[in-house]
Amino acid sequence: MAPALCVNCKTERALIKRPKNHAKLCKVCFIAIFEDEVHHTITSSQLFQPGEKVAIGASGGKDSTVLASVLKTLNERHEYGLDLVLLSIDEGIKGYRDDSLETVKRNAVQYDMPLTVVGYDELYGWTMDQVVETIGKKGNCTYCGVFRRQALDRGAKMLGIKHVVTGHNADDVAETVLMNLLRGDLARLSRSTSIVTGDDRSEVKRSKPLKYSYEKEIVLYAHHKKLDYFSTECIYSPEAFRGSARSLIKQLERVRPTAILDIVRSGEDMARLVPGESPSSCACKGNKTSPMVPAEDDIGGCGSQNGRTSGNEMAAMDKQLRENEAHEGLEVDVAMVMSESKNNGVKKHKEVPIRSGNGTSKSAPRQVRGNCSRCGYMSSQEICQACMLLEGLNKNRAQIQI
């Protein structure tokens, strides 16, 4: 097979075949185009303000390492004026996080960014090792996920930072869209497609600058730029449902690579149909605002994607948490009927008209938001999810001690 030439520069040998449009690119053009596209996402969604201090949620893995590298490059090239720092979470899992934290420490030097590590032990009084010792392996992903969502926010608050960016990529978003579709959870589906989550009330906003970047291209970017990243699998891994969604997406990509971005776009389009949900999309499609949604339901997942065992107990825990969420704001009709039939004491749902979907209306309140009465963290309920889980854990610990 004669080597193909790059369709962009038409001189160098093509090394990359882009999943989104099958374009064949050489290394230099690929790196430039990948960066340009992230820049386009950032500017069209108006993600950043000049002078803003931004924390990069850094795990040492491919996504957050590429995010840090690209943001540093773009910040210098396009003079965003951002003050970038690395923020890492130590879940307290021996033999898992240690090596990746070493990678983050090297990244901090390579990218000349200050690094802060916050641990579950200091935030919650529990390491994940201790949680697993108490509740067993099954269902632990739920604890870890709930804790992690808050941990990044709390770490940012400690640093006086109001914006955390994460390395979630197009494959992650597609996976979450698919999972919520399969659960029939359109409200969550809608929120998961949003590029920015969190609002003025939540103190810390979250965004996903790599939302439209293929995982494949992120890995190739890291490879061709020789970035220093670490791949690992959580030793407590199985999150079976996400694993299945991930496998399905990768199989679809093999047959039809555009499927991943198509699922992301379908998710955004469905989000527009969900009452009160304000989907974010590229400003070049006519949506000039940068709408924000509550961060609580941000994409979960922890990189444990192989799904080797069944996750029934984890699913049950997930379900329980969800049922505990008061459906005070908008939900899709099906969810309303179901929650009303299950929970007698739930407050009345507000009637909100379905929007015409022309993209001009402002985001309607969907959940009544307040703060957790225990920890003060943003929560739509009296007690936030993390405190609920901690209560259970602490009871268990007390019992064990007695």
């Binding site: 290394k27 992120i218 791949s231 922890c302």
Partner: protein
């Protein structure tokens, strides 16, 4: 396209990354002498290399993390001399002496 068949083996290097090294003795780079002729009598190609690696180099029982239904698991990228194997004919690419084949997983987290 048969420069190495005289010796009967093709010397190549095979790299694993993105977590795949775990399946191959935690070693990133392997020097491999690949039989020049595959099982069906045809020149050794990527499909044959994958079989060869599974049989002779994999130190982990979880072969399904590398190969599913006799093909490379979706989500694992294959680079032939740094080029996406999709540009080179994928499994049918005939291995040349001193090729570098990289298997990099996109499936593992950080």
């Amino acid at each position: 396209m048969s420069s190495a068949t005289d010796s009967g083996e093709i010397p190549i290097t095979v790299d694993f990354s993105g977590g795949l090294e775990m399946l191959f003795d935690n070693q990133r780079r392997h020097s491999v002498s690949l039989p020049a002729v595959g099982t069906g009598g045809q020149p050794a190609n990527i499909a044959f290399l994958i079989q060869h690696l599974c049989k002779n180099f994999m130190k982990d029982p979880r072969a399904e993390l590398f190969v599913l239904d006799n093909h490379i698991r979706p989500g694992i990228l294959v680079l032939i001399n740094d080029a996406d194997w999709e540009l080179e004919g994928e499994e049918a690419y005939e291995i040349q002496p001193h090729d570098n084949i990289l298997f990099v997983s996109t499936l593992h987290g950080g």
